[in-house]
């Protein structure tokens, strides 16, 4: 919300500096996000009178004597076509800073500092300025748009600083207004707060007018009272469309609006001043000279003022004439009933439209305006009525028409004027704040905010200002009091009345922390990636059309296709992260993420989906399958369980380097190398590995920690070098060894050899087998017998022999 200081001063006698006001507003809940000094860039520019002016022969230049009052009479060369003896214009003295303009003398290209110069051999001690060069346009000062010198009035004193004269000494407060205070989305609303913090009276703008009698019959009907609780129309005749006076153009310009014509400017002015959007219809263009507020019919069309055509539905509220839509309610008027130079009579509209309705239509059609933005924030009917009167007052002030007594004020059952009285307990307010604000102070604060406030004992009787629709219960009053009284009065206490509670993580959260610790200890880095991805990410991984991963939840209004699908697997996010690293030249990495996937029951989604945690591990660079498998094994070890790895396939993994991770007979995940075909598609120069585990299944595998007494007798180890057919897996051998002898507690492969010495189609594998004794020591003889049993089992079942 932009509020110029000069405008605020119309309603409040502001006797503090802009910086002090900024501080005070901040303290009461209105953060000034930016305090803009209007003429900040301009300095050293004074009023000068051209007392002599002669053309330099053969050029368009003139050499002038310029009387700059106390700054002396200066010789200045000037190329503008409107320079002549007797005029007054802004003079940038030597050392002044002004805007540098492009060749067109309009487009600002930066700043420049004026130096003594020489043009065609003639010395020049300054510069006569155009409006653009000192940041003034035609709405801020008459004639400032002329592509030449800005001609100043004769009564401006020579040598005076131009900034105050041109309104360049103004400040604009850009204020952040919270959503509960739509009443402060206006200059008047901010002025009320300013008055309250400064302890000043507010001067309301003049809303009076004299109405001429008219027999004009205008019919207004509201067929959608839920979407339009209040509709006021007022008939104005004898309209003369003309430019607005400077004071109004200036007000609009300071808030960033260009002037259009007197009537349009009045609607914009009232919107800024009071926060009530207005609309003016050219009455002669309204068929049947009537207004019907209703939902659009399916297939109805409207072309708005900006010449865009829209197809409407019953979701859109429209203001119609006798037979067709004439405006998108609260958003924009229709082209045919717009104000033009030929307009002779008009119907002013001030209404309250439901926030949600305006928002929905505005979004659905992609049509936004200052008006729709205001309606979405919320307007109150008290202001609706005041704004209509203000607009009529301005019609008279500007002399652009005759205000009649024809008003149609449609109040519906949904209408309410905002007046409200409440009784609240002072004790309750104090109890909520934890502080005793003196009753006198409370009343003073509330009255400064235009509440009617009376205290009887503990009871505070309040008349809520009609524009304060946010006030609802005593905590709102407590907030009003404390924000004005000052939060610096709040000291810290530490819940002296509260019961003692026991805090901390629950078991599930502890388990997750533990799992993360295991992974970090393995040298993995935790990542966090978006919970959504693109369907294309699944295509890249060649996930089949009927795979469960394809049954996903879609976001209705995603930022883009890239982030439109709630993930059903973490693999694409992990792969994207690894690819991003490789593209950035990070050639090695080991990553993990614990995050949720979102599994819908039925689609379209009717109930909450399952949010299931997954653990995903990714490795890339100079690693191999056994590095990522090692990380998985470390997880298993940390959970005091064992995983089996069963050769398997996934659509995106190398068919020879992929395994199901099995625990307790259940497949709980997979591990493998990215399919080289996909690697090639992504132009990856390093191998990439991915593992993904179902978190719940994983944690279900965890065995509780239990201390085991140390064995009474030492463990015995034996190394076995075996020769097997090359298709026999390490896992099968390990299984056999464990099964053959109950004392085997560890089997570890320490050498693998394939080559001539073992023959074609065979491989040699060497294992260290650990035997842990039970009640008796394992003697060498006993150990020999165990080994024999193991070897015979291996030979029998896997055709394996000792090397």
């Amino acid at each position: 919300m932009k509020a110029p200081l000069s405008w605020l001063k119309d309603y409040v006698d502001i006797d503090v500096t802009p910086e002090e006001l900024q501080k005070k507003l901040f303290g009461c809940g209105f953060e000034v996000e930016e305090l803009i000094e209007v003429g900040k860039d301009i300095s050293g520019v004074v009023v000068g009178e051209v007392t002599e002016c002669e053309q330099i022969e053969g050029t368009h230049l003139h050499v002038c004597s310029v009387d700059c009052g106390e700054h002396g009479v200066l010789q200045i060369c000037c190329g503008a076509d409107n320079v002549e003896k007797g005029i007054k214009a802004p003079v940038a003295l030597i050392g002044a800073t002004v805007y540098a303009t492009a060749k067109d003398h309009v487009t600002v290209e930066g700043m420049m500092t004026i130096k003594k110069g020489k043009l065609r051999g003639v010395e020049s001690y300054g510069m006569l300025c155009a409006g653009a060069e000192i940041g003034v346009n035609g709405d801020m000062f008459d004639g400032a748009d002329y592509n030449g010198l800005l001609i100043l009035p004769k009564d401006f004193p020579n040598g005076a600083d131009v900034k105050p004269l041109l309104g360049l000494d103004d400040y604009i407060f850009d204020i952040g207004v919270t959503a509960n205070r739509p009443d402060c989305q206006s200059i008047l609303g901010i002025a009320r707060e300013v008055a309250a913090v400064l302890g000043k009276e507010i001067k309301y703008p003049d809303c009076t007018f004299t109405a001429a009698h008219s027999d004009e019959h205008i019919k207004v009907s509201d067929l959608a009272p839920d979407l339009c609780p209040r509709y006021i129309a007022h008939y104005v005749k004898d309209i003369e469309i003309a430019p607005s006076p400077l004071w109004m153009r200036r007000r609009l310009a300071m808030c960033g609006l260009r002037s259009i014509n007197n009537v349009v400017d009045i609607t914009n002015f009232v919107l800024l001043e009071m926060g009530q959007p207005m609309h003016a219809f050219d009455l002669s263009a309204l068929s049947g000279r009537e207004i019907v507020v209703r939902r659009a019919k399916e297939g109805e069309k409207i072309t708005t003022l900006d010449e865009k055509e829209f197809d409407l539905t019953p979701d859109n509220l429209v203001i119609c004439d006798g037979d067709k839509p004439a405006a998108l309610a609260g958003i924009m008027g229709g082209l045919t009933s717009g104000i033009g130079s030929a307009t002779r009579e008009l119907l002013f509209e001030a209404a309250k439209f439901a926030r949600d309705s305006v928002r929905k239509t505005s979004r659905a059609l992609g049509q936004h305006s200052d008006s729709s933005a205001m309606f979405e924030k919320g307007v109150n009917e008290y202001t609706t009525e005041m704004a209509m009167n203000r607009a009529l007052n301005l019609i008279q002030t500007l002399g652009c028409g005759t205000v009649t007594d024809v008003r149609r004020d449609v109040k519906t059952p949904f209408s309410h004027d905002g007046a409200k009285t409440m009784k609240v307990s002072l004790k309750k307010i104090d109890a909520l704040l934890g502080i005793d604000v003196p009753a006198g102070q409370t009343v003073k604060i509330l009255r400064s905010l235009e509440f009617g406030a009376e205290v009887h004992g503990d009871e505070l009787t309040l008349k809520v200002p009609p524009y304060r629709e946010d006030i609802d219960d005593y905590p709102d009053i407590a907030e009003e009091i404390i924000r004005m009284y000052g939060y610096e009065h709040i000291d810290g206490t530490f819940m002296p009345t509260a019961k003692v509670t026991n805090g901390g993580y629950n078991d599930e959260q502890k388990a997750e922390n533990y799992l993360k610790k295991l992974l970090v200890e393995q040298g993995l880095y935790e990542i966090s990636t978006y919970s959504f991805y693109s369907e294309k990410d699944l295509d890249l991984l060649k996930i089949p059309a009927d795979a469960p991963e394809r049954k996903f939840i879609k976001i209705k209004n995603p930022i883009g296709e890239d982030l439109s699908v709630m993930r059903t697997t973490l693999a694409p996010s992990m792969l994207n992260t690894m690819v991003r690293n490789l593209r950035r030249g990070n050639m090695d990495g080991a990553l993990f993420e614990i995050a949720k996937v979102y599994i819908p029951g039925e689609l379209p989604l009717k109930t909450f989906p399952a949010e299931k945690k997954r653990l995903c591990i990714g490795m890339f660079g100079t690693c191999d399958f056994y590095d990522i498998k090692g990380a998985a094994e470390a997880v298993a070890e940390g959970l005091r369980t064992k995983f089996e790895y069963v050769s398997s396939t996934r659509s995106f993994l190398h068919p020879g380097v992929c395994a199901d991770i099995v625990c307790g007979g259940r497949t709980i995940g997979y591990v493998g190398r990215l399919d080289p075909a996909i690697s090639e598609e992504l132009a990856l120069e390093r191998k990439v590995f991915i593992a993904e585990l179902d978190y719940d299944e994983l944690t279900a595998c965890a065995q509780p920690f239990k201390y085991r007494p140390l064995p009474k007798f030492p463990e015995v180890t034996r190394d076995l070098a075996l020769v097997a057919q090359s298709d026999v897996t390490c896992g099968e051998i390990e299984k056999q060894i464990y099964a053959a002898c109950k004392y085997v507690t560890d089997v570890r492969l320490f050498d693998l050899y394939v080559g001539e010495q073992v023959g074609k189609g065979k491989k040699s594998m060497a294992f260290t087998v650990t035997f842990t004794p039970g009640e008796e020591a394992i003697t060498p003889e006993k150990c020999d017998s165990y080994v024999k049993k193991i070897l015979s089992a291996l030979e029998r079942n896997l055709n394996i022999v000792l090397r």
Binding site: G434, I435, M495, L519, Y530, F532, N586, D588
Partner: protein
């Protein structure tokens, strides 16, 4: 005669051990002299040929020789050992400036570090952890938080919708209601988690994390909120950090405040981090709105409470001086490696 022999033997021992530099050869020599066929042993054996009356005298001489020889070899052994050790030390001398070997651990994501720090601070104050679902319904995310359908506060947050009813939660506050519906006061919960808003630039991300705190009990006041926040600020940002409350607005709290902490970089004098103001905005808070309590079946005349919520990434960015929120979600290993604790 025997004396002569002994003198010769002494000379011989001196001669052969003169250049000995290794314990191994010294031991071999010693064995050669003392061994069964060794010359000293031979000398002892020759005692048999010495007349009986001369034996004590000769024995004495031979014993003296043996003692001398033992001593000689022992002292030589010491010398040699020293020589050998010196050689060993020399040969094993290393370049101590070569890089050391360490176990390469990974690191936690900065979000995890911040969440843990916050949980540590608040669990000490008696807060339990509660995690709600990320896909929420309109009721828990908005309506129950005093934000009905046409409420302007809904525009404060651009919501991702799944259906008209289901959405990605925009705030961990959604979890508040779930807790209050199922638990009666005293309530002290902390609710960390991912939230989603349709925003995407250097300081906004469509997914980020929040930490919500909620206290409901008898007689809880704004003073208690301030006291708890003071404690939080000191523990997380430093012992001299102060907090400042200023009015704000959230539909589910009344009064609502923004909470600033005094700048821990400049101590409040004004610097780049605090944009010259001396204060940094860290969280939003307020007294739980009576309607919210009522909606959860908690009598607002008996109980009151406060709630606060903060952005985890914002805290991480402030604490570590990270300038772009995107970095937290990109998983660049050069970024991640800096967070080893």
């Amino acid at each position: 005669m025997i004396e002569e022999k002994i003198e010769q033997l002494k000379k011989k021992i001196d001669e052969v051990t003169k250049d000995i530099r290794s314990s191994k050869s010294l031991n071999e020599l010693k064995a050669a002299f003392f061994g069964k066929q060794g010359e000293i042993s031979e000398l002892m054996k020759s005692m048999r040929d010495v007349p009986k009356e001369k034996r004590p005298e000769v024995g004495k001489i031979i014993n003296a020789l043996r003692d001398w020889a033992n001593e000689r070899f022992d002292s030589l052994a010491e010398t040699v050992k020293k020589i050998e050790l010196d050689a060993l030390y020399k040969s094993e001398k290393i370049d101590v400036t070569l890089p050391g070997r360490k176990i390469q651990t990974g690191a936690y994501h900065p979000d995890t570090l911040v969440v843990r720090e916050l949980v540590d601070v608040f669990s000490g104050m008696g807060f339990e952890i509660f995690e709600g679902p990320e896909i929420e319904n309109d009721y828990y995310n908005f309506t129950a938080l005093n934000t009905p359908k046409d409420h302007p506060a809904r525009d404060m947050q651009d919501t991702f919708y799944i259906t008209d009813e289901l959405l990605l939660r925009t705030q961990t506050s959604a979890g508040q209601i779930r807790v209050m519906e199922n638990k009666k006061p005293p309530i002290k919960i902390l609710s960390p988690g991912k939230v989603y808003r349709s925003d995407d630039d250097a300081t906004h991300s469509p997914m980020f994390s929040q930490m919500e705190g909620l206290v409901v009990d008898r007689g809880i006041t704004l003073f208690d909120l301030k006291g708890m926040l003071d404690e939080f600020a000191k523990k997380v940002f430093g012992p001299s950090v102060k907090t400042r409350l200023r009015p704000s607005y959230f539909p589910f709290t009344e009064p609502s405040v923004e909470v600033d902490v005094s700048c821990f970089e400049c101590g409040g004098k004004g610097c780049r981090l605090c944009k010259g103001t001396g204060w940094i905005e860290v969280l939003g808070a307020g007294m739980v709105n009576r309607r919210v309590l009522e909606g959860c079946g908690i009598d607002p005349d008996e109980y009151s409470g406060f709630a606060f919520g903060m952005g985890i990434e914002r805290i991480a960015m402030l604490k570590y001086g990270i300038n772009n929120m995107k970095l937290l979600f990109e998983g660049d290993v050069r970024f991640l490696k800096q967070f080893k604790d």
